[in-house]
């Protein structure tokens, strides 16, 4: 298909636009989505970041926003462990390189200045705030009140950082007045309790933001100025701004002559989801539409949890906003825009809203992406897909995410790949997980669909309904150069051998896969990710469920940013949870369990499901050792973990085999 066929299908996204005096080649903005923790502790950009930024520059967006840099030498604005800085000329060379990459790719280059305020001062032990309103999350530092001198200095530092960005070659700047960052905390009724001209009325609370916009615009009148503002803070219950107030603040910014408003959702400490998988794509579009109505003469950019270019194109057609601002979808697939332009949307690796990326950032680790194992490793040739020096015949055992990721990667390098699975479908345990997921099955199912599409397009051979064992191996002896065992993990039912009545136990994976239909009253043993997903799904669908967990807390193996989600679901669904409790007996009437104090309880149940512990399916390693030249493994077959490890390991093995 020619490039134009895709563009013609998304005519609003691919039309030309204009930001200030700069023409844009399309209506897509790469949202600052790159606080990466790849840099040095003192704010210098590293070769790793530069390589990553080059990929960002080449995403095909009309506008590229470079990651937020803090503007002050003290680091009060610094919110992430290895955040980049822009308070001194010594940082200029790498910013020049980045601006160069963006221009080479034909995009407009915007540098974001991010003073994190309430979430800043990472190395200082305090943060700066309009008023001393304590943190609601222990992750952040206790606040100190800013004086008027501090405010004036902060404005000067923003102006200096903005001028520096322009000197580095950027076309414009973006300032962060959202998410609870510094300006947002002045805007907020919750965090701003000042009694001077910077506090009180909405007019006063917005004063710092307006003064800052004016100062930067006066210093750089020729250059576009973008501001990120919340359409909804989701902080109402804390006494924060409601949506009406958010839009009044937007009008204040528009009144100051900003060139573009980027509309976002939520504060970091907001108690509800804003961009997780449990939020439906398009859910927040109404905020962008309202921004456009309230500020008709200012460009509006939007994209929070709007991952699909077709949906974005429809929004542009309706005039709901002007630029589609994309972040995580391009972490997951940096070729998203190119694939859209070339009418290859079926090949896109969707962002599944797993929030692995942010989980890592908040653990002070370099960010990574569940769906894009190469992300952050662009500087390492070992992570790229290159033609294999020796083309091999490879058999893969297991069509779960590890096996399929390996298969398509190895195939892209020119190897001949055949995947065997005893099931009649691909996807492995991910399929059971996806169909039972309360958050958004479609996101997880998209991973399986992606493998289906790519296996067909690339010519990976699939042999389903085929059990791999010594007999099969003998029948194909010397036909393959390589065997990759990606056979996943199973629930270790033998762990219950000493439990009277253990033969009545039902395997959670069989329930998830739909092979076993449990009764009306169920006890699930193990409240890790598998037990939780199964229990929540069953309860949601009318089964009476009790969860039993040997540890003190549930969700021990769940990604940090999703733990709270399970806790909330368990609570909303009113699933009783017995922690520090073990199974001692299974009877026809149910499960007998014992707690840490030794008290036994009988939990009436028709079905007792074992969802833990798990054990890797490793028997084939021993069986095949003398039957094939190269024998490798990946995913849960090495050690039971999760989808992320499976995808990443499949890829890493695929690029080097």
């Amino acid at each position: 298909m020619s490039e134009r066929s895709g563009e013609a299908k998304l005519p609003h996204l691919f039309r030309r636009g204009r930001l200030g005096r700069y023409a844009t080649k399309n209506m897509i903005k790469y949202g600052a989505c790159c606080v990466s923790n790849y840099n040095t502790r003192d704010g210098h950009i590293t070769p790793r970041e530069l390589a990553r930024t080059r990929v960002i520059a080449n995403t095909g967006c009309g506008i590229i926003t470079n990651q937020g840099a803090y503007p002050d030498p003290k680091g009060e604005g610094k919110s992430y462990f290895r955040m980049v800085a822009l308070y001194d000329d010594k940082f200029l060379p790498q910013f020049e390189t980045i601006a160069g990459y963006i221009h080479e790719a034909g995009a407009v280059a915007i540098q974001q200045i991010l003073h994190a305020g309430r979430y800043g001062g990472i190395d200082l032990g305090y943060c700066v705030q309009p008023s001393v309103v304590p943190q609601t999350l222990p992750h952040f530092r206790p606040p100190r009140e800013m004086s008027k001198d501090d405010i004036r200095r902060c404005i000067r530092e923003h102006v200096d950082a903005a001028k520096r960005a322009i000197r580095a070659g950027f076309d414009g700047v973006e300032v962060t007045s959202f998410m609870g960052y510094l300006l947002a905390s002045f805007n907020s009724r919750f965090t701003n309790q000042r009694s001077d001209e910077y506090g009180g009325s909405l007019e006063n609370r917005g004063r710092f933001m307006r003064e800052l916009i004016d100062a930067v615009k006066q210093a750089l009148p020729e250059h576009p100025f973008v501001i990120r503002l919340n359409g909804a803070e989701l902080m109402d219950q804390w006494g924060g701004n409601n949506e009406d107030e958010c839009f009044e603040l937007m009008k204040q910014a528009a009144g100051c002559g900003v060139d573009m408003i980027s509309v976002t959702v939520g504060w970091q400490e907001a108690p509800e989801s804003s961009i997780g998988r449990d939020v439906a794509p398009g859910h927040w579009n109404y905020l962008a539409a309202r921004a456009k109505r309230e500020c008709p003469d200012t460009l509006v950019a939007f994209g929070n949890r709007l991952p699909d270019p077709r949906m974005a194109d429809a929004c542009l057609a309706k005039g709901e906003f002007d630029y589609w601002e994309v972040c995580r979808p391009m972490l997951a697939d940096p070729d998203l825009v190119h694939k859209a332009a070339e009418d290859r949307l079926d090949e896109v690796r969707r962002c599944i809203g797993s929030l692995n990326c942010l989980s890592r950032v908040f653990r002070d680790l370099p960010y990574s992406c569940t769906m894009n194992p190469a992300l952050g490793h662009e500087v390492e040739p070992e992570y790229s897909v290159t033609p294999a020096a020796v083309k091999k015949k490879i058999m893969v055992i297991g069509a779960g995410p590890a096996g399929m990721e390996f298969a398509i990667t190895a195939r892209r390098r020119g190897h001949e790949v055949t995947v065997y699975d005893r099931a009649d479908h691909i996807g492995g345990n991910l399929l059971g997980y996806a169909t039972r997921d309360l958050a958004r099955p479609d996101d997880l199912l998209s991973v399986v669909r992606h493998y289906e599409v790519m296996a067909t397009k690339l010519g990976v051979e699939l042999k389903l309904n085929t059990e791999a064992n010594a007999k099969l191996m003998r029948s194909v002896l010397h036909q393959y150069d390589v065997c990759v065992v990606a056979a996943g993990a199973r629930i270790d039912l033998s762990a219950y051998d000493g439990v009277p009545g253990h033969e009545r136990l039902v395997d959670a994976l069989a329930v998830a896969a739909g092979r076993v239909e449990p009764g009306k009253r169920v006890v699930v043993i193990g409240a890790g990710k598998i037990g939780l997903v199964v229990a929540e799904y069953l309860k949601k669908n009318g089964t009476e469920v009790t969860l039993v967990e040997a540890e003190k807390r549930i969700a021990g193996d769940v990604m940090p940013t999703f733990k709270w989600r399970h806790t909330a679901w368990v609570e909303e669904l009113e699933i009783p949870v017995l922690t520090s409790t073990r199974l001692v007996r299974v009877t026809a009437d149910g499960a007998v369990v014992v707690d840490a104090k030794g008290t036994e309880t009988t939990l009436p149940a028709d079905t007792v499901i074992a969802a833990a512990p798990r054990v890797a399916n490793q028997a084939l390693f021993a069986e095949f050792e003398w039957m094939v030249d190269e024998l490798h493994g990946c995913g849960d077959a090495l050690m039971p973990r999760g989808m992320d490890a499976a995808i990443h390991e499949g890829y890493r093995l695929g690029v080097r085999i």
């Binding site: 001393v132 999350l137 222990p138 530092r141 108690p271 509800e272 942010l358 989980s359 653990r363 940013t561």
Partner: protein
Amino acid sequence: MAVVAQPVFDWQPVLDVHVELFEPLATGVSVALVPRWREDSQGLRRANIMPKTEPVPMMLWLREAQAMRVREGIFTGLASLASDVLLIVEDGALDVALAHERPLSELKRLLRRNRVLFMVLRTRDELRERGWTEFLEALGLPFLGTCR
């Protein structure tokens, strides 16, 4: 004047049941439980959680040498609050929790439903050093990270 819960000493048995959560705490640290709202002299509803406020009765859970004890205190604003952890309580919320079979579990639920709000007055490291990890985790409050 709004009171956070009445009578506050009914909470002592709850603290005694959860002795393992409070054992790691350093002597002298406390949780302050403060009503979210009060009525001013003109009968208007005012937020208590301000740097400075009119005196408001509060409940303290104070780690004394032997155990966590319920004490009464007076809240005069955030600026002068010596506690490490602050629970801001909507009218009647603590009574709802206390009426529950497992009051701390109910408190956790109320936190999630924003009937009780949570604030910290120390850094993460200070909280860890003073032994708060168990208690905060039991209430489902994440020590690290945000972004939902």
